[in-house]
Protein backbone atom coordinates (compact mmCIF):
# COMPACT_ATOMS: atom_id res chain seq x y z
CA UNK A 1 0.00 0.00 0.00
CA UNK A 2 2.65 2.45 -1.11
CA UNK A 3 2.07 5.90 -2.54
CA UNK A 4 4.81 6.51 -5.08
CA UNK A 5 5.61 10.18 -5.74
CA UNK A 6 7.45 11.00 -8.97
CA UNK A 7 8.62 14.55 -9.74
CA UNK A 8 10.85 14.11 -12.80
CA UNK A 9 10.08 14.17 -16.53
CA UNK A 10 10.54 11.08 -18.72
CA UNK A 11 13.98 12.49 -19.67
CA UNK A 12 15.20 11.26 -16.28
CA UNK A 13 15.82 7.69 -15.16
CA UNK A 14 13.39 8.06 -12.23
CA UNK A 15 10.31 7.00 -14.24
CA UNK A 16 11.77 3.71 -15.43
CA UNK A 17 13.30 3.02 -12.04
CA UNK A 18 10.12 3.53 -10.07
CA UNK A 19 7.82 1.48 -12.29
CA UNK A 20 9.82 -1.63 -11.34
CA UNK A 21 8.99 -1.09 -7.66
CA UNK A 22 5.25 -0.50 -7.98
CA UNK A 23 3.20 -3.52 -7.01
CA UNK A 24 -0.52 -4.34 -7.05
CA UNK A 25 -2.23 -2.25 -4.37
CA UNK A 26 0.13 0.75 -4.81
CA UNK A 27 -0.56 3.97 -6.67
CA UNK A 28 1.58 6.50 -8.53
CA UNK A 29 1.22 10.26 -8.13
CA UNK A 30 2.92 12.53 -10.66
CA UNK A 31 3.79 16.01 -9.41
CA UNK A 32 6.03 18.94 -10.41
CA UNK A 33 7.97 17.97 -13.58
CA UNK A 34 6.69 14.43 -13.06
CA UNK A 35 3.43 15.48 -14.73
CA UNK A 36 5.25 15.43 -18.09
CA UNK A 37 5.07 11.64 -17.69
CA UNK A 38 1.28 11.99 -17.85
CA UNK A 39 1.08 13.35 -21.39
CA UNK A 40 -0.43 11.02 -23.94
CA UNK A 41 2.84 11.08 -25.85
CA UNK A 42 4.88 9.96 -22.85
CA UNK A 43 2.07 7.66 -21.74
CA UNK A 44 3.69 4.59 -23.27
CA UNK A 45 6.08 4.48 -20.34
CA UNK A 46 3.08 4.21 -18.04
CA UNK A 47 1.21 1.72 -20.24
CA UNK A 48 2.43 -1.27 -18.29
CA UNK A 49 1.15 0.29 -15.04
CA UNK A 50 -2.25 0.93 -16.62
CA UNK A 51 -2.45 -2.69 -17.77
CA UNK A 52 -1.66 -3.83 -14.25
CA UNK A 53 -4.47 -1.67 -12.90
CA UNK A 54 -2.24 0.68 -10.90
CA UNK A 55 -4.12 3.94 -10.20
CA UNK A 56 -2.31 6.92 -11.76
CA UNK A 57 -2.75 10.51 -10.54
CA UNK A 58 -1.32 13.90 -11.49
CA UNK A 59 -1.43 17.11 -9.43
CA UNK A 60 -3.68 19.48 -11.37
CA UNK A 61 -1.87 22.69 -10.34
CA UNK A 62 1.30 21.26 -11.89
CA UNK A 63 -0.50 20.14 -15.05
CA UNK A 64 -2.08 23.58 -15.53
CA UNK A 65 1.14 25.48 -14.81
CA UNK A 66 2.90 23.57 -17.55
CA UNK A 67 0.17 23.98 -20.15
CA UNK A 68 -0.55 20.24 -20.28
CA UNK A 69 -4.29 20.22 -19.55
CA UNK A 70 -5.27 19.23 -23.10
CA UNK A 71 -2.43 16.74 -23.48
CA UNK A 72 -3.12 14.35 -20.66
CA UNK A 73 -3.43 10.63 -21.16
CA UNK A 74 -7.01 9.51 -20.34
CA UNK A 75 -5.59 7.00 -17.87
CA UNK A 76 -4.49 9.77 -15.51
CA UNK A 77 -6.81 11.18 -12.86
CA UNK A 78 -6.25 14.83 -11.91
CA UNK A 79 -6.13 15.62 -8.19
CA UNK A 80 -5.79 18.75 -6.10
CA UNK A 81 -3.65 18.97 -2.95
CA UNK A 82 -6.56 17.98 -0.67
CA UNK A 83 -7.02 14.83 -2.73
CA UNK A 84 -3.29 14.18 -2.45
CA UNK A 85 -3.68 14.38 1.32
CA UNK A 86 -6.55 11.90 1.14
CA UNK A 87 -4.45 9.51 -0.96
CA UNK A 88 -1.57 9.79 1.48
CA UNK A 89 -3.95 8.62 4.19
CA UNK A 90 -5.50 5.86 2.08
CA UNK A 91 -2.03 4.48 1.29
CA UNK A 92 -0.10 3.73 4.46
CA UNK A 93 3.28 5.10 3.38
CA UNK A 94 5.04 6.95 0.61
CA UNK A 95 8.24 6.81 -1.42
CA UNK A 96 9.71 9.69 -3.36
CA UNK A 97 11.34 9.09 -6.76
CA UNK A 98 13.46 11.87 -8.20
Amino acid sequence: MLLHLLNKSPEHAALLRCTGFIRHGDCLVLLEDGVYCATSKAGAALGELVERGIPLYAVSADVEARGLSARLSPDIKLINYEELVALSIQYTKSKRWG
Binding site: S60, A61, R66
Partner: protein, 117 residues
Protein backbone atom coordinates in the same frame (compact mmCIF):
# COMPACT_ATOMS: atom_id res chain seq x y z
CA UNK B 1 31.68 41.36 -31.57
CA UNK B 2 31.31 37.90 -30.11
CA UNK B 3 28.12 35.96 -30.60
CA UNK B 4 26.38 34.49 -27.57
CA UNK B 5 24.31 31.32 -27.60
CA UNK B 6 21.97 30.73 -24.66
CA UNK B 7 20.74 27.18 -24.15
CA UNK B 8 17.61 26.31 -22.18
CA UNK B 9 17.47 22.61 -21.32
CA UNK B 10 15.12 22.47 -18.34
CA UNK B 11 11.35 22.29 -18.16
CA UNK B 12 9.64 25.32 -16.62
CA UNK B 13 8.47 25.59 -12.96
CA UNK B 14 10.20 22.43 -11.69
CA UNK B 15 13.43 24.43 -11.41
CA UNK B 16 14.30 28.12 -11.68
CA UNK B 17 16.72 27.57 -14.59
CA UNK B 18 14.15 28.62 -17.18
CA UNK B 19 13.18 31.85 -15.47
CA UNK B 20 16.74 32.85 -14.59
CA UNK B 21 17.90 31.77 -18.05
CA UNK B 22 15.30 33.99 -19.70
CA UNK B 23 16.45 36.92 -17.53
CA UNK B 24 19.99 36.35 -18.78
CA UNK B 25 18.85 36.19 -22.41
CA UNK B 26 16.97 39.48 -22.12
CA UNK B 27 19.98 41.07 -20.41
CA UNK B 28 22.28 39.78 -23.13
CA UNK B 29 20.12 41.11 -25.94
CA UNK B 30 20.63 44.65 -24.60
CA UNK B 31 24.38 44.35 -25.37
CA UNK B 32 24.79 42.11 -28.37
CA UNK B 33 23.16 39.78 -30.88
CA UNK B 34 22.02 36.70 -29.03
CA UNK B 35 20.64 33.35 -30.05
CA UNK B 36 18.60 30.96 -27.96
CA UNK B 37 18.44 27.21 -28.35
CA UNK B 38 15.80 25.04 -26.66
CA UNK B 39 17.06 21.51 -26.08
CA UNK B 40 15.47 18.44 -24.47
CA UNK B 41 12.90 19.35 -21.83
CA UNK B 42 13.83 22.97 -22.55
CA UNK B 43 11.32 22.95 -25.42
CA UNK B 44 8.56 22.79 -22.77
CA UNK B 45 9.53 26.37 -21.81
CA UNK B 46 7.68 27.59 -24.89
CA UNK B 47 4.46 25.62 -24.47
CA UNK B 48 1.32 27.78 -24.71
CA UNK B 49 -1.43 28.03 -22.09
CA UNK B 50 0.73 27.79 -18.98
CA UNK B 51 -1.61 28.77 -16.16
CA UNK B 52 0.16 29.18 -12.85
CA UNK B 53 -2.51 30.80 -10.63
CA UNK B 54 -3.29 27.67 -8.60
CA UNK B 55 0.37 26.74 -8.26
CA UNK B 56 1.21 30.32 -7.17
CA UNK B 57 4.27 30.30 -9.39
CA UNK B 58 5.28 33.07 -11.82
CA UNK B 59 4.06 32.57 -15.38
CA UNK B 60 7.19 33.99 -16.99
CA UNK B 61 6.44 32.08 -20.20
CA UNK B 62 4.52 35.10 -21.50
CA UNK B 63 7.83 37.00 -21.56
CA UNK B 64 9.11 34.72 -24.32
CA UNK B 65 6.82 36.76 -26.60
CA UNK B 66 9.15 39.69 -25.92
CA UNK B 67 12.19 37.93 -27.38
CA UNK B 68 11.60 39.45 -30.83
CA UNK B 69 11.03 42.91 -29.31
CA UNK B 70 14.34 42.59 -27.54
CA UNK B 71 15.97 41.85 -30.88
CA UNK B 72 16.47 38.14 -30.26
CA UNK B 73 15.45 36.74 -33.62
CA UNK B 74 17.67 33.68 -33.70
CA UNK B 75 15.51 31.18 -31.81
CA UNK B 76 16.19 27.51 -32.39
CA UNK B 77 15.02 24.19 -31.05
CA UNK B 78 15.76 20.55 -31.57
CA UNK B 79 13.19 19.14 -34.02
CA UNK B 80 13.61 15.66 -32.55
CA UNK B 81 13.01 16.90 -28.99
CA UNK B 82 9.76 18.54 -30.13
CA UNK B 83 8.63 15.37 -31.90
CA UNK B 84 9.46 13.08 -28.96
CA UNK B 85 7.25 15.24 -26.76
CA UNK B 86 4.38 15.29 -29.23
CA UNK B 87 4.70 19.03 -29.83
CA UNK B 88 4.39 21.07 -33.01
CA UNK B 89 5.34 24.70 -33.67
CA UNK B 90 1.66 25.67 -33.35
CA UNK B 91 1.78 24.61 -29.70
CA UNK B 92 4.47 27.15 -28.86
CA UNK B 93 4.39 30.78 -27.71
CA UNK B 94 7.03 31.77 -30.25
CA UNK B 95 8.01 29.56 -33.17
CA UNK B 96 11.68 28.58 -33.00
CA UNK B 97 13.48 27.24 -36.05
CA UNK B 98 13.52 23.46 -35.65
CA UNK B 99 16.95 21.98 -36.36
CA UNK B 100 18.03 18.47 -37.26
CA UNK B 101 21.02 16.86 -35.50
CA UNK B 102 23.57 18.11 -38.06
CA UNK B 103 22.23 21.66 -37.82
CA UNK B 104 22.20 21.51 -34.00
CA UNK B 105 25.82 20.41 -33.96
CA UNK B 106 26.64 23.28 -36.33
CA UNK B 107 24.85 25.87 -34.16
CA UNK B 108 26.83 24.80 -31.12
CA UNK B 109 30.05 25.33 -33.04
CA UNK B 110 29.02 28.58 -34.74
CA UNK B 111 28.70 30.75 -31.66
CA UNK B 112 31.61 32.15 -29.65
CA UNK B 113 30.30 31.67 -26.14
CA UNK B 114 27.68 29.22 -24.88
CA UNK B 115 25.74 30.00 -21.71
CA UNK B 116 23.82 27.01 -20.32
CA UNK B 117 20.68 27.06 -18.20
Amino acid sequence: MRKLLFIQSHAPHGTLFGQEGLDAILAGSAFVDCAVLFLGDGVYQLLKDQATQTLASRNYSVSYQALFDYGVDAIFCSAADLLTRGLTLEDLIVAPTPLNPKELEAILHDYDVILDF
